[in-house]
């Protein structure tokens, strides 16, 4: 409890300094932002130069349920909690690649991944990369309002486009996106290829203090997440209340390498009024 409280307090105290959109710096000039980036980042200044910037408004983000951006929302608190936990689990062990997957479809995995990425990016110490590995139903482009036809990982796999050209900055400080770019018909083969391994290694080692969030489909939908999980440090499972079935949850747990599972998140679940104070004291142990 105390740990979480401290984390929350710290997050709150850091808020004014870290605020991206508030305190009058809107509209922010691109130049300012780009010039500001290297100051914080220790390495890879080139990457920032090469990164395409697609500015998204907080309204659009809110419309796409990326509410973690608004730190006053209830959801933002929950994501901060989740972020703190992930830090707790990973930092000591030097882990930085996290796969977000679920059990079925339409469980809000991408939303959770995006919000988590945003939330981590809001932490002063961390930068975040959100990689969309869902080649069946790519959603990062949609969530962050990237223009259609925006190049993505498919270009990397199919045309060997260098990664540097594929990064997109959504206009949120310390957050970089790597969209899928479009569906791939033979996603399982590609994800199991050497190139994929090289990609993950490359991403993991380019910035040591960067968290990489991989958004993948549900485990019951296709083999993709299982293939990918081989290269991951940790797996975060997402289940949606009133959507995920008991069978798919049980079956999903059978397939996933349990050692890598960091935790389970329940999406779209609100505690009834008056009981909220109780919930986390039990699970913090």
């Amino acid at each position: 409890m105390s740990e979480i409280k401290r984390a929350l307090e710290r997050a709150k105290s850091e808020k004014p300094r870290n605020d991206v959109f508030s305190d009058g710096n809107r509209p922010v000039s691109l130049g300012n932002r780009f010039s500001a980036e290297p100051e914080n980042g220790r390495a890879g200044d080139i990457a920032f130069v090469e990164t395409r910037v697609v500015k998204t408004s907080p309204e659009d983000l809110a419309r796409n349920r990326i509410t973690a951006i608004d730190e006053n929302s209830g959801a933002a608190d929950q994501f901060k909690l989740l972020r703190t936990r992930i830090f707790h689990w990973t930092r000591s062990r030097g882990l930085n690649s996290i796969q977000v997957t679920g059990f079925g479809a339409a469980e809000g995995k991408s939303t959770v991944a995006a919000n988590l990425a945003v939330s981590i990016a809001q932490d002063t110490r961390q930068t975040t990369l959100l990689v969309d590995l869902d080649f069946r139903r790519p959603s990062v482009e949609r969530l962050f309002g990237l223009p259609s036809g925006c190049p993505g990982l498919n270009a990397y796999f199919l045309d060997d486009t260098p990664l540097e050209r594929l990064f997109v900055s959504p206009g949120i400080k310390k957050l970089t996106l790597l969209p899928a770019g479009g569906p791939l018909s033979n996603a399982a083969d590609i994800l199991g290829s050497k190139k994929m391994e090289q990609l993950v290694t490359e991403l993991k080692h380019r910035y040591r203090d960067r968290y990489i969030i991989f958004d993948t489909p549900g485990v019951s939908a296709c083999p993709d997440p299982l293939i990918v999980s081989e290269y991951m440090d940790g797996i975060l499972l997402v289940a949606r209340a009133g959507c995920t079935t008991r069978e798919s949850a049980a079956a999903g747990m059978e397939r996933i390498p349990k050692g890598k599972v960091l935790g389970v998140v329940m999406n779209e679940y609100s505690l009834p009024e008056g009981t909220a104070s109780y919930r986390y004291s039990g699970s913090s142990a």
Binding site: L82, G108, A241, R246, E247, L262, E268, L271, T275
Partner: protein, 580 residues
């Protein structure tokens, strides 16, 4: 904490299953409400009939009807619910006017039968003799239900009358039948008694003296006859002795010997008669009757006079005979003197016979006729009288002996007769008893019949005649609606429970943690976008307007196709008035 958790879970479930909780309830409730108002009013008219105990105490007049009142009620109920009776009621009162022509008769009968209710009102009565209280039917109610209160009253009324009539009829008939039966029995028994009486009299007449009560009489008779016989015997003996003595003396007397008195002989009389005729001849002619008679007398006497010679012969014979008797007293018959004397007697006798012809063959007669000795004749008469007396006495004795035999026979037959007589008597007595008994019973039955006819026995009395029902007994709208509500709640709970258990989805972090085997590290609330909020608002608007529309549609359908609202309103007012 745990309790809190449970409450939260229940709250969640309730929230989650709200549609399943509300919809069935609303549906069932609406159905029950429409059913409550749709059902036609049914009125019940009932009569209460009391069973009045006999007004004459049962120990005074025994009731002929031994069946229990409720048994009789059941019987009459069977009669009233008979098919024909019900059908006639239906016709008479126009029951089920719209269904009567459509429904099969059996169904109609069944429907009407269901509307007839007979309920007995029982009372527990503690009797001193029994430790268990006896349940006695003291009254019963009779009711009929109909949509029309008037019809209900009419039918109920008719049924009440039917019960009253049937009961009275049954009881009167029963009493009358008893009387008739007893009368017939009495007639038969009387006939039998008469027959037995006649038989007994005949038997008594036939075997009068053989009856036991005549034993002493018979014994006395026997004694008397015995003494009579012994005295007779004595008399006989003396008479016989007298006879023997007479006979002995007679032998010593000469029948013709002279006595002191002059007796005219035949020849003397002949001569005298000749003299008289001569005297008469001077007076009358030969033809004169006197002359004729004298002539006749002379001829007769002449015949006799011719035997003057025989008189000598006879005298000789008599002396011979006395000599013979004397000889016989001294000698045996073989004595030569006796034999010679006998021969002499025979010779004389044959001589005499020659003179007197055939008339003189019989010595007695000859002796008698010819006896002239008065003492002989007197003795002879005595002897004859003695003989006559003896014969009479013997005859009497024989009669007495015969009579004694009869008396003995009677005495012998006595046990048998007595048995038969006793049997007959017994039969007679029992028949007589039976007749008496029957007579008593008949008297009792006649009394009972009188009681029944006067309706003083156990009767039915209407204490509450069928009334005109003001308020319907059915349907109990409040109850129907209440049941509908309870049923709706039950249905909702059942449906929601089913939905909850049939739902394979995970709804709370605890379940998820259990399945996954990890505790849930974060729960993300539903992130509402503006579009979501707007959508939710629209959904709310839609559902409210849908509900309003549905209710409106229901009301319209109800009003136009089922029941006008003013009727509903009227019914509602009545219901409220009834319950307030």
């Amino acid at each position: 904490m745990e309790n809190n958790f449970e409450i939260r879970k229940i709250k969640e479930v309730l929230k989650r299953r709200r549609p399943w909780l509300t919809m069935p309830f609303v549906a069932v409730f609406l159905l029950s409400v429409s059913a409550a108002f749709l059902l036609q009013d049914v009125y019940r008219s009932s009569a209460t009939i009391m069973i009045v105990n006999s007004q004459v105490p049962t120990n005074l007049v025994q009731s002929a009807v031994t069946s229990y009142a409720d048994q009789r009620i059941q019987g009459i109920t069977q009669e009233i619910t008979a098919r024909s009776k019900i059908l006639s009621l239906a016709e008479k009162y126009d029951l089920f006017p719209e269904k009567r022509s459509v429904l099969p008769a059996d169904d109609l009968v069944e429907k009407i039968r269901k509307r007839i209710t007979v309920e007995t009102i029982d009372a527990e009565i503690k009797k001193e003799t029994q430790n268990k209280p006896a349940v006695i039917t003291i009254a019963f109610t009779l009711s009929y239900d109909d949509e029309s209160p008037g019809k209900a009253q009419s039918v109920s009324n008719e049924m009440t009358q039917f019960y009253m009539e049937k009961n009275h009829e049954a009881r009167a008939k029963h009493a009358k039948n008893t009387t008739m039966f007893l009368e017939e029995q009495l007639r038969l028994a009387g006939k039998e008694l008469d027959e037995l009486e006649r038989k007994l009299a005949a038997y008594r007449e036939a075997n009068l003296e053989a009856l036991p009560e005549f034993t002493t009489v018979n014994m006395q008779k026997l004694d008397k006859m015995g003494s009579e016989i012994s005295s007779l015997n004595m008399q006989l003996r003396s008479a016989e002795e007298q006879g023997a003595a007479l006979r002995t003396r007679l032998t010593t007397l000469d029948p013709f010997g002279g006595g002191g008195e002059k007796v005219l002989t035949v020849s003397e009389r002949y001569r005298q008669a000749q003299l008289e005729r001569a005297a008469l001849a001077s007076k009358y002619t030969d033809k004169h009757p006197v002359m004729q008679s004298k002539k006749q007398e002379l001829s007769i006497l002449g015949g006799a006079a011719d035997s003057s010679k025989t008189r000598d012969l006879r005298e000789r014979l008599n002396s011979l005979l006395s000599e013979l008797a004397d000889l016989k007293s001294r000698y045996t018959e073989k004595h030569p003197a006796v034999i010679s004397k006998l021969q002499e007697v025979e010779t004389v006798k044959s001589e005499l016979a020659n003179y007197n012809g055939a008339a003189m063959v019989q010595p007695g007669r000859g002796r008698k006729e010819s006896a002239t000795n008065p003492s002989f004749i007197a003795m002879k008469t005595d002897l004859e009288r003695n003989e006559i007396g003896l014969a009479a006495m013997r005859e009497e004795k024989a009669r007495l002996e015969g009579e004694i035999g009869t008396v003995y026979a009677k005495l012998h037959a006595m046990p048998q007769v007595s048995r038969e007589y006793n049997e007959l008597t017994n039969d007679y007595q029992s028949a007589k008893l039976q007749v008496n008994d029957l007579k008593q019973r008949l008297a009792g039955a006649k009394l009972t019949q009188g009681v029944e006819e006067e309706q003083l026995g156990e009767t039915f009395r209407v204490i509450e005649p069928p009334f005109f029902p003001e308020n319907p007994i059915r349907p109990n709208r409040l109850l129907i609606i209440l049941i509908g509500m309870v049923l709706g709640v039950g249905m909702s709970v059942a449906v929601a429970t089913y939905a909850e258990f049939a739902d394979a989805r995970i709804h709370d972090p605890e379940t998820l943690g259990q399945i996954v085997g990890l505790s849930v590290c974060a729960t993300i609330p539903r992130m509402m976008t503006a579009a979501d909020i707007a959508r939710a608002r629209w959904r709310k608007i839609y559902s409210i307007s849908g509900a309003i529309g549905g209710i409106a549609a229901f009301m319209v359908i109800f009003h136009f196709w089922i029941m006008d609202f003013y009727i509903v309103y009227a019914k509602l007012l009545r219901v409220i008035a009834r319950y307030s």
